[in-house]
C-alpha cells in the first residue's frame, strides 16, 4: 500500500513544480538586484537562519534564486520571495565557512524575466557562539501601555518565544531585559505600572524587588551586570518626555535628574557613592568592563528641561571598582569630553577583550532611539582614538548595541528601514577593529513580516542558550505584589 502512495505524492510534487513559472526569454541586467532586506555583500555567521529576501519592486511577482557556495553546495528557492529549507541552508553554510555564497536572482515583472548580476554573502569562520537573542517588542506609544513583551528568538531558525507579554499582566509595562554577559541564568528586567517591580533572576531563583527605594527616591532603570555575577550597576532616572510641535524629531525623552549606583544581589543592598551620585550632574548608562575592574558611565551637567533640552550633553567617564569590597575608586576619569564637541555620548558598551568602547553619539540628550543623527562610534582604549563606525551607520538612528560573548559579533537597532520602527541588525567585528556590512534579523518572509510588524525592537541582547519560559508563573508572581525591600548603604 505504501508504494502507490509514494508515487502519488511524488507525482503531485512534480505537478506542483511543473506549475511553477520557469524563466524564459530572460533579459540580462548589469545591476545587482534591489532586495529586501539588503543582504548584498553582508557577512554572516555559519549558524544564522536562512537569509530569505524579496525584491523591493512591488511589481515583481516571482523570483527564482540559486545560492552556490564557493566551497561547494547549492540551495534554490522560487516564489514571491525566497523560503530556503533550513537544514539545506545550514549544510551549505557550514560547508562554506570562511568562503562565500554567490546568489543569482532571476525575477519576473510584468511577464518579463530579468536575470540580475549575482552578489555575494560572506561566511565568517568565527562562530556566533550564541543561541539567539532577547528583546522587547513595543509599539510606538508614549503614555499608554499597549501590548508589549520580552521575547527570545533563536538565530538559527525563526522560532520566537515570548518570555513575558503584557497580556499576562494587563496595564503594565515591561522593559530593559538584560543578561549577564549573554548568560540568561543571570538577568534583570523591570515592570512598571500598578504591580511594578525589578525582577532579578540569579542562580535559578527569581527575586522581585520593590520598584522604588524610598531612600533612592526612584527606581532602578538601566542595568549592567558585573562579570562576577554578584553586583549590578543601575542608573536611577527621573525620566520625562516632551513632544516636538514643528520638528522632524517627534519626541525628546530626558531626565530631570539621574544617578548611578551599584546593587549587591547577595545582601540586597544599594551601595551609594557620592562620586557617581552628584546633585549638579546627571550620571547615566552604567556598564562594567569585562574584567570587572571599571565601571563606565555617562555624565552631564543637569540642565533645566524642557527649555535647555539642546544643552544637556553627556561625557563618557569611568571609575575603578573593587569586586571584593563593592567600593568604587577615588577618582573619575573622563574618556570622551563630548560636550566640548557639542555632542553627547550614550549607551557605552565594552568589547569582550576590554579594548573598545562602542557608544552612540548624538547632538544632545541620551535617548538615542529618537535621534535620527544617532550613530555608532568606537573608542579604542589602547590608542585613545575614537571614530564613527561608518561601516554600519546610516542616515537614521543607530543605537542600543550589544556585543556577543566571544566579541566577534555585535547587534544594534536601527531605524533605517522606515524612520520610525527600530529593527535589529548584526555585524561582525575583526581584530583590527573593523566591522562588516550589517544584516537585518532574518525572517521566513521578511518583507511581509516587517511591513506588518507594528512593534519596534528594543534593548536587544544576545543569549547563549534558550531561556526556560513560564509566562503564567511570572505573571502570577508579578501580580502577587510580594516584593523584597532593598536596603541602602552609603559607601562614601
Amino acid at each position: 500500500m505504501k508504494f502507490p502512495f509514494k508515487i502519488v505524492i511524488s507525482m503531485m510534487l512534480l505537478l506542483l513544480v511543473a506549475c511553477q513559472p520557469q524563466p524564459d526569454h530572460v533579459k540580462e541586467s548589469g545591476n545587482q538586484p534591489d532586495i529586501y532586506p539588503d543582504y548584498v555583500g553582508v557577512t554572516v555567521p555559519a549558524e544564522i537562519a536562512p537569509l530569505n529576501f524579496a525584491m523591493t519592486d512591488e511589481a515583481v511577482d516571482w523570483i527564482c534564486v540559486t545560492v552556490e557556495g564557493s566551497k561547494g553546495g547549492q540551495v534554490t528557492s522560487a516564489g514571491e520571495d525566497t523560503d530556503f529549507d533550513i537544514d539545506e541552508w545550514h549544510q551549505l553554510l557550514s560547508k562554506n565557512k570562511g568562503g562565500h555564497l554567490t546568489v543569482s536572482v532571476t525575477a519576473r515583472k510584468e511577464k518579463q524575466w530579468t536575470r540580475y548580476k549575482s552578489f555575494r554573502i560572506y561566511i565568517n569562520p568565527k562562530p556566533l557562539g550564541e543561541w539567539g537573542i532577547t528583546y522587547r517588542r513595543i509599539a510606538p506609544g508614549y503614555s499608554m501601555y499597549g501590548l508589549m513583551g520580552i521575547w527570545q528568538r533563536c538565530l538559527s531558525n525563526f522560532e520566537e518565544i515570548p518570555l513575558l507579554k503584557t497580556s499576562q499582566i494587563p496595564g503594565m509595562c515591561v522593559n530593559c531585559h538584560t543578561n549577564s554577559s549573554t548568560h540568561p541564568g543571570q538577568s534583570v528586567f523591570h515592570v512598571r505600572g500598578a504591580h511594578g517591580a525589578t525582577v532579578i533572576q540569579r542562580q535559578g531563583q527569581t527575586e522581585l524587588l520593590k520598584a522604588k527605594n524610598d531612600t533612592l527616591g526612584g527606581s532602578m532603570v538601566y542595568p549592567s551586570w558585573h562579570p562576577g555575577g554578584r553586583y549590578i550597576a543601575f542608573s536611577t532616572n527621573k525620566t520625562a518626555q516632551s513632544f516636538h510641535m514643528g520638528n522632524p524629531k517627534l519626541i525628546e525623552v530626558y531626565d530631570n535628574s539621574s544617578d548611578v549606583f551599584v546593587y549587591d544581589t547577595e545582601t540586597q543592598t544599594i551601595l551609594r557613592d557620592s562620586l557617581i551620585m552628584t546633585a549638579a550632574w546627571s550620571e547615566n548608562c552604567p556598564t562594567f568592563s569585562p574584567d570587572g575592574r571599571w565601571l563606565y558611565f555617562t555624565t552631564a551637567l543637569q540642565r533645566t528641561y524642557p527649555q535647555e533640552f539642546q544643552k544637556q550633553r553627556y561625557n563618557l567617564c569611568r571609575v575603578a571598582f573593587d569586586e571584593r569590597t563593592g567600593k568604587l575608586g577615588q577618582e573619575v576619569d573622563t574618556l570622551i569630553r563630548a560636550d566640548s564637541m557639542k555632542k553627547s555620548v550614550t549607551w557605552p558598551r565594552l568589547s569582550t577583550d576590554g579594548r573598545y568602547v562602542m557608544y552612540s553619539l548624538i547632538n544632545y540628550g541620551y535617548f538615542s532611539v529618537w535621534h535620527p543623527e544617532a550613530d555608532l562610534w568606537l573608542l579604542d582604549l589602547k590608542t585613545g582614538e575614537t571614530r564613527p563606525m561608518s561601516e554600519v551607520n546610516s542616515t537614521r538612528s543607530e543605537s542600543l548595541h550589544e556585543w556577543s560573548a566571544n566579541g566577534h559579533w555585535f547587534l544594534f537597532t536601527s531605524r533605517r528601514d522606515d524612520g520610525l520602527y527600530t529593527r535589529l541588525y548584526f555585524s561582525s567585528f575583526d581584530k583590527n577593529g573593523k566591522a562588516t556590512k550589517p544584516f537585518m534579523l532574518p525572517q521566513r518572509h521578511p518583507k511581509r513580516y516587517y511591513r506588518e510588524l507594528m512593534d519596534s525592537y528594543n534593548t536587544p541582547d544576545f543569549t547563549i542558550h534558550k531561556i526556560p519560559a513560564n509566562p503564567q508563573e511570572m505573571g502570577r508572581a508579578i501580580e502577587s505584589d510580594q516584593r523584597i525591600e532593598t536596603h541602602t548603604k552609603l559607601m562614601k
Binding site: G141, S143, M144, G146, M245, E252, R451, E452
Partner: protein, 383 residues
C-alpha cells in the same frame, strides 16, 4: 456604533484569521469583528444589527422548538413566549455596554448552533456533547458550558428524569472544561482569569472611554459645533479632553481667541486618558494644523485598546499625518494594512497613490494646507 468600529480593524487575510483562531473563542471574535466593521456606515450598522437580532432569534427558536418537541405536551406555550424574549434582552444588554465586545453575542450564537448538532437520542448523545463542547470552547470560548443546557436531553433523560444523573453529567462537563483550561493556560499568554472569563468577551472598564468622551469624540469628528456647545451647556464636561473640545467649538464659533485655545491645549496631561479621548484630541489637533500632536494622539489611540486590537481610524490618521510630514515609507506600511480592510480599501489605495506621487499631495487642498502649516509651525515642546 462609531466607538465600536474604531476600536478594531477586521482584515480580510488568512494570517488574521489564523491569529484569531490561535486562541479559545477566536472564531466568535473573528465573526464579531467582521460584523462590527459594517458600523463604519451608520445605515449598514443598523442593518447588520437588525440581521444579527433576527439570526439570534431564529437560532434560539430552533433550539427552543427542539426542546419543546422533545418535551411535547409538558411545556406551557406562555413559558415559551417569555423564553423567546431572552435573545433580544441579551443582545440589548450586550450592545449597550461599550466594554462588552461583539465576541460574546457571537459566542452565544455559535454555542446555539453547536447545540443543534447534538443528537436527541442514542448512546452517543453524551459523548457527542463532550466533543462538541470542547470544539465549541475553542471556537466560542467558555460560553460553551451552556451547550448541554441548550440540549437538555444530553443531561437528562425524558423517560426516566433523574436529576441526580443530570447534575452529575453537568458537573463532569464542568470539571472537564476546567481541566482543559488548566492544561491550556501555561501555553497561553493570558492570565488564567481571562481564559476562564472569556478572551475578549468584555474589556476592562474605562479604557475605551466613558459615554461623555464617546459623545464629544463623535461631535468633534463630525464637526457639529453648535450641538457640542449645546451639550456642554446642558452638562458641563468632566473630562479634560471634552473640555478642550468645548474650547475648540467656541473657537469655531468665534467665541474664543485662537491664542487662548492654543495655549490651553498644549498640555496633554490627562487629556489622552482613553481610546475615545485620544481620537478626540487627534482630531482636535489636526483641525488646528498641529500635525505632530495629532499624530502623537493617534499613536496613543492605537496602543490603548485593552484587547490590543488595531484601529482603522487610528491607522487612517497615522497614514494622513505621515503623508503630510513626508514619511512615505510609513504611509506604505499603514496603508497596505488598511488595504486589507474592506471599508478602508479605496481610501488606502488613494493614500498609496499619493505616496508614490507626492506631487498629488500638493494638489489636495486639505493636505496642502496642513503641510504648509506643519512646515511653518515653529518648534516648541508640548507635554
Amino acid at each position: 456604533m462609531t466607538a465600536r468600529e474604531q476600536s478594531q480593524l477586521w482584515l480580510c487575510s488568512i494570517d488574521y484569521l489564523g491569529i484569531r483562531l490561535s486562541e479559545p473563542g477566536g472564531l466568535a471574535r473573528y465573526i464579531g469583528e467582521f460584523f462590527v466593521q459594517f458600523y463604519y456606515y451608520i445605515l449598514w450598522g443598523a442593518i447588520i444589527t437588525a440581521l444579527l437580532v433576527l439570526a439570534m432569534i431564529w437560532l434560539w427558536w430552533l433550539v427552543v422548538y427542539r426542546i419543546w418537541k422533545y418535551h411535547r405536551g409538558t411545556l406551557c406555550p406562555l413559558w415559551l413566549y417569555f423564553v423567546s424574549l431572552i435573545p433580544l434582552i441579551f443582545l440589548w444588554l450586550s450592545l449597550r455596554d461599550i466594554n462588552v465586545q461583539m465576541t460574546l453575542p457571537m459566542a452565544v450564537c455559535l454555542t446555539l448552533l453547536c447545540s443543534l448538532l447534538i443528537p436527541k437520542q442514542g448512546k452517543g448523545t453524551f459523548p457527542t456533547t463532550i466533543v462538541l463542547m470542547l470544539v465549541d470552547w475553542w471556537l466560542a470560548g467558555p460560553v460553551c458550558i451552556l451547550l448541554p443546557l441548550f440540549a437538555p436531553w444530553s443531561l437528562f433523560s425524558q423517560q426516566r428524569p433523574a436529576i441526580g444523573k443530570g447534575l452529575l453529567r453537568m458537573g463532569l462537563l464542568a470539571v472537564l472544561l476546567t481541566g482543559v483550561i488548566l492544561i491550556y493556560a501555561p501555553h497561553s499568554n493570558r492570565p488564567l482569569r481571562d481564559i476562564f472569563a472569556g478572551i475578549d468577551y468584555k474589556v476592562q472598564d474605562g479604557f475605551i472611554g466613558v459615554a461623555e468622551e464617546q459623545q464629544y469624540d463623535l461631535l468633534v469628528h463630525l464637526g457639529l459645533w453648535e450641538r457640542l456647545l449645546a451639550v456642554a451647556q446642558e452638562n458641563p464636561p468632566q473630562k479634560r479632553s471634552c473640555h478642550y473640545a468645548v474650547l475648540l467649538a467656541q473657537w469655531q464659533q468665534w467665541n474664543t481667541g485662537e491664542g487662548e485655545l492654543r495655549q490651553c491645549i498644549r498640555d496633554t496631561w490627562g487629556a489622552l486618558s482613553s481610546c475615545c479621548s485620544s481620537f478626540l484630541m487627534s482630531d482636535l489637533y489636526l483641525k488646528l494644523g498641529w500635525v505632530n500632536m495629532s499624530q502623537r494622539a493617534a499613536y496613543e489611540a492605537l496602543v490603548s485598546f485593552p484587547n490590543y486590537n488595531y484601529s482603522g481610524r487610528a491607522l487612517k490618521r497615522l497614514t494622513e499625518t505621515s503623508l503630510i510630514t513626508g514619511r512615505y515609507e510609513l504611509v506604505k506600511k499603514y496603508a497596505l494594512m488598511l488595504e486589507q480592510a474592506p471599508f478602508y480599501r479605496s481610501w488606502a489605495q488613494e493614500a498609496l497613490h499619493m505616496a508614490e506621487h507626492p506631487e498629488l499631495i500638493e494638489q489636495n487642498v486639505n493636505c496642502r494646507y496642513l503641510r504648509q502649516t506643519y512646515n511653518m509651525t515653529p518648534d516648541a515642546m508640548f507635554y
